[in-house]
């Protein structure tokens, strides 16, 4: 349906935007690409009295790679990431995951910051942020705070963002060159919301053993999460078919997805196991025996 009546302001600077949010308290909502918020407004699931458009703020649209890490501005779009060959080299897991986000037209407007702030449990960007230990920079009336993705996300469509705060950038730790990794997700159509997804990486030591395993999952809980039980199985082991099947069994038990109209809980749980098997097999470059 049509959007609820609301006011719209488009500040030119970050301080102006924060001041506008502070004036309106919880009745204002930040809009950038609007690819999550506009549907929420159309369904009237959100009815803010004013939209503060940060889409024209300077300095939030850059991707920079330095010794400190990979900094991605909140206004960077999926299309910006897709076109950045240097970023794909610098963080192949991010590039692979973002390839699954939404359809062509939405990718042209949807932003990294918007996806984090919207906090959909099946979204790829929050999943990568949690898996890769990302740090988020949040600016508000009382100053700047830097939080981990885990601290930032508090539940389905919920974050710690205050009424007068704006997420300005996200920093991913630098990626190690020889790292083994894979991203797997299943959606009914490419670009649709994931029924479940797995982001996985680990490093290999001189003996060929895995360490520093990071296994993150999306779509199977109210927010993306790591699976420490699975990571513990991988760390210190040579990743072969036995280890992968063992890891998948632990993953199935580690999650407790809910039933919804897209998939039953049991289906999502099984799917997660299959996706983890595929991800780890791909990361290790091995072929798993066909299931009996």
């Amino acid at each position: 349906m049509k959007l609820p009546p609301l006011d719209y302001i488009c500040p030119a600077t970050l301080p102006e935007a924060i001041a506008a949010l502070a004036v309106h308290g919880g009745n204002a909502k930040v809009i950038a690409g609007g690819q999550s918020l506009m549907p929420m407004l159309a369904f009237r699931l959100a009815a803010p009295s004013v939209l503060v458009d940060i889409g024209r703020l300077p300095d939030l649209k850059s991707i920079s790679i330095s010794a400190e890490g990979i900094d991605i501005g909140a206004l960077v779009t999926w299309r910006d990431i897709e076109r950045d060959a240097q970023l794909a080299q610098a963080h192949p897991l991010l590039a692979a995951a973002i390839a699954h986000v939404a359809h062509y037209q939405v990718r042209n407007r949807g932003t990294v910051g918007g996806s984090m702030a919207h906090a959909d449990p099946a979204a790829e960007m929050p999943g990568i942020a949690v898996t890769c230990d990302a740090m988020l920079t949040i600016v508000g009336s009382t100053g700047t705070r830097i939080l981990s993705a885990n601290e930032f996300l508090t539940g389905g469509l919920s974050t710690v963002l205050g009424a007068d705060e704006i997420l300005t950038s996200i920093r991913l730790p630098l990626w190690k060159k020889a790292r083994r990794w894979a991203f797997e997700e299943l959606a009914r159509r490419r670009g649709d919301f994931a029924l479940a997804g797995v982001a996985a990486f680990y490093d290999i030591d001189a003996q060929g053993l895995a360490h520093n395993a990071h296994i993150g999952v999306i779509g199977v809980a109210d927010r993306p999460m790591r699976l420490p039980g699975v990571e513990a199985i991988l760390d210190g082991r040579r990743i072969d078919a036995d280890v992968i099947l063992q890891a998948a069994a632990v993953a199935r038990d580690a999650v407790d997805p809910a039933d919804d109209i897209h998939a039953e809980a049991a289906y999502r749980r099984d799917l997660l196991g299959v996706l983890l098997e595929r991800a780890l097999a791909r990361a290790a470059n091995i072929t798993l025996p066909e299931a009996a």
Partner: protein
Amino acid sequence: MTSARPVHFTVNGAAATVTVEPRTTLADALRNELRLTGTHLGCEHGVCGACTVIVDGAAVRGCLVLAAQAEGREITTVEGLGSAAHLSALQLAFRKHHALQCGFCTAGILTTAHALLTEEPHADEDRIREVISGNLCRCTGYLPIIAAIMEARIAYRDVQCEAAQ
């Protein structure tokens, strides 16, 4: 202030001003204020792709952009692609391949394909299929649409060659 205010942008090469409430989407402003009714609204929540228009060269869903967000932008709608007397190469290919039946989704698919081929005139069939997956068509089964877009690619390559010379 939720009352109407002016927004200025360029539509199909001509300057336009619409006076709309802030909640008005770009698609509604184009249709209701400028009577550019070639842009169709299907779902109005960003799923069907029927309302796709091109903003500063990028295909976007017209129902997921506020008219106010288009201030100063250059917009191309299906009316800007060709005319009944002079169909574009893409439109001719759609006619040749019977790439539409009821026509409701067609404007959004034409604008999407136009943006894609302008940027990627060598897009392969997989890429075209992936991009068109963002547009729902319940008549054609997509095969003639894919065939038409595949055939139209050559016209966009010629444009690139001319631009390069």
